[in-house]
């Protein structure tokens, strides 16, 4: 049985339809990747699972979400966290006026376990991102973009979730760190946490994941084993950036004829 | 349009009585512009209920000029815009106003009253600024006179003497500043020095004022503020062993205060000057009013607002009767009737003379002292009289 089971999920923002009958699984202890271009609906999918669509004036228009057989649909956002599902949101969203340390404490609010567990989690994320230990007393809003991303991720890890929803965790991270994020995800996964990974760095995502889905304009267009998907032409071209010779030439020509911006004359 | 055909409402009834706005064959409408939800709520409530009581009694006794009295009440909550709006609303439909609380609002419409409307208005305020209009008439001594009388009481009882300093704690605004004119005049006459302390209606703790007055070494304090300020002042002074007499204007007392921590101190050495006998007086008229009011409004306490509201209403009644006799119930008729009224008394200890719009209707004041045992919480310590300096006081100087 799947840890997370999304069935025929549809979501709209007012008149805008963002997801249409999306179904997807995250196997227990597995990593599932979701790929898709801008506006495909990846973040919307995660919001629907974590029950935070309301904050964006979005509404679920049908479908079900189950986690370990329990429906998540009736819960509030905090209830979902209590069930063990934690989302690291897109675009950092650190608590800018709180210190780094307090951000991490906030991350642990939904976690079970006492002081010891907290100390252990803290030590772990500090080891992972030493800069967060150095800057413990600094207000999070003053961190650099990448540091904020690390904090957002670390904050999510503090909750010790059973299912981690990651929305572009490597956004804005230096290559070295991005690579480390990959390792971390794998390590977390090894300890039994399932992961639903939305990531633009498709090569990393597909390397980590066992299953993968491609979303386009709110619908699943491709799905399957991550390795198989990585080999498909479509995915290679659009998400891995691997281009065969003729296509490259086409692209170059297309660029030539692509709209050029004239200078502006008053 | 409907507006165009509307006449001025003037006419004559079967009995040959001329009528105008607010008077029909069956009723005489009077307006009440009061404050029952704002800062003067406690005054407004007593005054309005007393006036309603008067109207009911009058109607039961057959009304005036064969007509029943109808009061239209508007509660403006001490909001200028609402007050002016309420005046505008009622003015075309009433003969005049038996009550108008808030002297700034009276001032705001005074031009209209004097210029076109000419209906008789009895404000529940005693500022000398209100004098001078033939239509806006103050019933009782103005604050300046009242303050002179109050200070004279202290002098007469040898609580203070020439050369002393006395403190004056007063509200910013009409009331306080008019009272200050009186205290300064009295001080000048008696060779006293005034130490001023201006406060706002939102100040409830008089500790700093007491400290300042104590520092200045005053021998007595005049307070021209609200009941709460008086209570705090007297309480703080007494608790701190600063034992000087305190006198206040008629608005500086409410019987409810006697139940608070300041109660004992108030009963010790605090005096109030006023233009009526207290409701708890043993005279016939106050006694009767007290009984009837208590019967009509069993849940509400007695205070001096009841007396002053009832007095104003009775005055209006008297004027209407006189106007009826001269067969002219128009606004002009009412005004004329009032000017002819030079000895009006309702048994509350003071006789009023309304023949001069530029002077208050009396220069006398009764001096009272808090006493929790009497209804209304005040007993008389000195009957109505005019202090010598008050006789010669000129207004607007």
């Amino acid at each position: 049985m799947a840890a997370l089971e999304v069935r025929a999920l549809s979501v709209g923002y007012g008149p805008v339809r963002a997801l249409h009958e999306v179904s997807l699984d995250v196997p227990p202890g597995g990593i599932t990747a979701v790929l898709g271009g801008n506006g495909a609906g990846k973040s919307t999918l995660l919001r629907a699972i974590s029950r935070t669509l309301g904050f964006h004036r979005g509404t679920a228009g049908g479908g079900t979400v189950h986690f370990d057989g329990r429906p998540l649909d009736g819960l509030g956002a905090a209830g979902v966290v209590a069930a063990g599902v934690v989302q690291v949101p897109e675009g950092r969203q650190v608590f800018a006026r709180m210190t780094v340390a307090d951000n991490l404490r906030a991350g642990a609010l939904g976690a079970r376990g006492g002081r010891k567990r907290y100390a252990a989690s803290l030590a772990e994320v500090h080891e992972l991102f030493p800069v967060l230990a150095d800057r413990a007393g600094q207000r999070a809003g003053l961190l650099s973009g990448g540091e904020q991303q690390m904090l957002a991720l670390a904050r999510g890890l503090m909750a010790r979730p059973r299912l981690l929803l990651l929305d572009e965790p490597s956004l804005g991270l230096a290559p070295l760190v991005a690579a480390r994020i990959g390792e971390t995800i794998r390590r977390i996964n090894d300890t039994g946490t399932s992961v639903l990974l939305v990531e633009q760095n498709a090569s990393m995502a597909l390397r980590l994941a066992s299953r993968a889905y491609v979303l386009e304009v709110g619908e699943v267009t491709l799905e399957g084993d991550a390795a198989e998907l990585a080999a498909s032409d479509e995915v290679r071209r659009r998400y891995l950036g691997v281009v065969d010779e003729t296509a490259a030439e086409d692209a170059d020509r297309a660029q030539e004829s692509a709209p050029v911006l004239r200078r502006w004359t008053a | 349009s409907g507006k165009a055909t509307e006449g001025d409402g003037k006419g004559e009834d079967a009995g040959g009585v001329k009528t105008g706005q607010g008077v029909s064959d069956k009723t005489i409408s009077l307006g009440v512009l009061t404050d029952m939800t704002g800062v003067y709520a406690s005054l407004g409530k007593s005054v309005t209920q007393a006036q309603q009581l008067w109207a009911d009694q009058t109607n039961k006794a057959g009304g005036i000029c064969g007509r029943t009295i109808e009061l239209t009440v508007r509660d403006h909550g001490y909001d200028p815009q609402k007050a002016v709006a309420a005046y505008t609303e009622l003015e075309p439909d009433v003969l005049g106003f038996v009550q108008f609380i808030g002297s700034p609002f009276v001032a705001a419409v005074e031009k209209r009253i004097d210029g076109q409307d000419k209906g008789l208005v009895l404000p529940q305020a005693w500022s000398a600024n209100l004098l001078g209009s033939p239509y806006v008439r103050v019933v009782g001594a103005t604050y300046d006179i009242e303050t002179i009388n109050a200070i004279d009481y202290l002098l007469g009882n040898e609580r203070i003497a020439k050369g002393d300093k006395i403190g004056h704690v007063y509200f910013e605004g009409d009331y306080g500043e008019n009272a200050l004119v009186g205290s300064e005049y009295a001080a000048e006459q008696a060779g006293l020095t005034i130490v001023e302390q201006k406060i706002k209606p939102t100040d409830n703790d008089m500790s700093a004022q007491v400290a300042a007055l104590k520092k200045a070494g005053v021998k007595a304090i005049v307070i021209s503020a609200g009941p709460r300020q008086a209570a705090s002042l007297v309480g703080v002074a007494a608790a701190g062993g600063f034992n000087v007499p305190v006198v206040g204007n008629n608005s500086a007392f409410a019987p409810q205060l006697l139940a608070t921590a300041a109660g004992p101190a108030l009963m010790k050495d605090y005096y109030i000057a006023s233009s009526t006998l207290p409701i708890g007086s043993d005279e016939a008229a106050p006694k009767k009013l007290a009984t009837e009011y208590a019967a009509a409004y069993p849940d509400d306490g007695l205070d001096n607002g009841v007396v002053s509201g009832y007095t104003a209403a009775s005055l209006y009644g008297e004027v209407l009767k006189k106007a009826c006799e001269s067969k002219d119930l128009t606004r002009e008729g009412v005004d004329k009737a009032l000017l002819g009224l030079d000895a009006f008394s309702t048994g509350f200890g003071i006789t009023h003379d309304f023949s001069d719009p530029a002077a208050p209707s009396t220069r006398e004041s009764v001096i009272m002292k808090p006493d929790s045992k009497v209804p209304g919480g005040l007993k008389v310590v000195q009957e109505a009289r005019v202090a010598e300096p008050a006789e010669g006081f000129t207004f607007g100087g």
Partner: protein, 296 residues
């Protein structure tokens, strides 16, 4: 000199009452970033309950019920009104609290009517005298209560998960929800706490030297605005400091009124606002408030 010390102490003691009121603003602001204009009516509610009950059940139980009652009123406001606006603009929410304030104040003033209610406190008009200096015992009690409560909240905000949840929810409700913060519960608790604080403040605002609780009592709560801002709207320490500064300023401006006549009489009410503006010019987020972030 005695006058100076007396005014200073008088100011400090009145200031601690302001500090208590300001603390109520701070709690709501920290939890929701909303300036709560309904605080004055919570204060009236707490005071009213205490005042009507003390005769029957004694002062301390009455105070307890008053505190609980105001907490219930606060929670009810949160539950029935504020909750429905989650995510709205903060200035919009401030306006909503004005509406709530009008409703509550109208109801309470209608009940209080024209009465001046005593709270039945044990201190009465007793004074504490040290040398030449006297100060009302109620005010000493106020000072102690303010210092105590403010310390408690300072620690609570800093060290409990409640404090962290509150700040997180205020800053970014959505992300806080993603961290498992129950937004409803957090703001409910904040309103309840603000209500209880208001009841305590109401006690000290209406006992000697002020005559008692009456309909205009809530106006005095407005003086806590400059106090809260001056200290920093999101700082408990700031509430204390701001309250004391406002109290002392007011006391001196009034006490030395005769020496300050060139500023116009009745300057005492204005002085706290002038001090507030002066402080804000130097420190735009108050003395202890969190400075605005300026990074992109």
């Amino acid at each position: 000199m005695t006058t100076f010390v007396e005014l200073l102490l008088g100011g400090l003691s009145m200031g601690s009452v302001y500090a208590l009121i300001a603390l109520g603003f701070v709690v709501i602001f920290k939890a929701t970033e909303v300036v709560n204009f309904a605080h004055a009516s919570l204060l009236l509610a707490g005071g009213y309950v205490t005042a009507v009950l003390h005769d029957d059940i004694g002062f301390w139980p009455a105070l307890g019920v008053g505190i609980a009652g105001a907490a219930v009123v606060g929670s009810a406001v949160e539950y029935t009104v504020m909750r429905r606006y989650r995510g709205a603009d903060h200035s919009v929410l401030a306006i909503v609290t004005i509406g709530v304030d009008i409703l509550l104040t109208t109801e309470l003033t209608r009940r209080i009517g024209t009465d001046v209610l005593a709270l039945g406190d044990p201190w009465g008009d007793k004074l504490l005298t040290v040398g030449d200096i006297t100060i009302a015992q109620t005010r000493v009690a106020a000072f102690v209560a303010a210092a105590l409560l403010i310390t408690v909240f300072l620690l609570a905000f800093r060290y409990t998960t409640w404090g962290v949840s509150m700040r997180a929810a205020a800053e970014n409700p959505q992300t806080a929800a993603l961290m498992g913060v129950r937004l409803g519960r957090v703001s409910l608790s904040a309103w309840a706490v603000a209500g209880s604080l208001a009841a305590v403040a109401a006690l000290f605002l209406t006992v000697f030297p002020t005559p008692g609780l009456e309909r205009a009592t809530s106006l005095a709560a407005l003086k806590a605005f400059p106090a809260a801002i001056l200290g920093g709207l999101d700082s408990t320490t700031g509430a204390l400091a701001g309250g004391l500064i406002v109290g002392v300023t007011e006391s001196f401006a009034t006490g030395y009124q005769s020496d300050l006549t060139f500023l116009g009489r009745g300057f005492g009410d204005l002085a706290p606002y002038l001090v507030m503006v002066a402080v804000l010019l130097i420190r735009p987020a108050g003395l202890f408030g969190t400075k605005e972030l300026a990074r992109v």
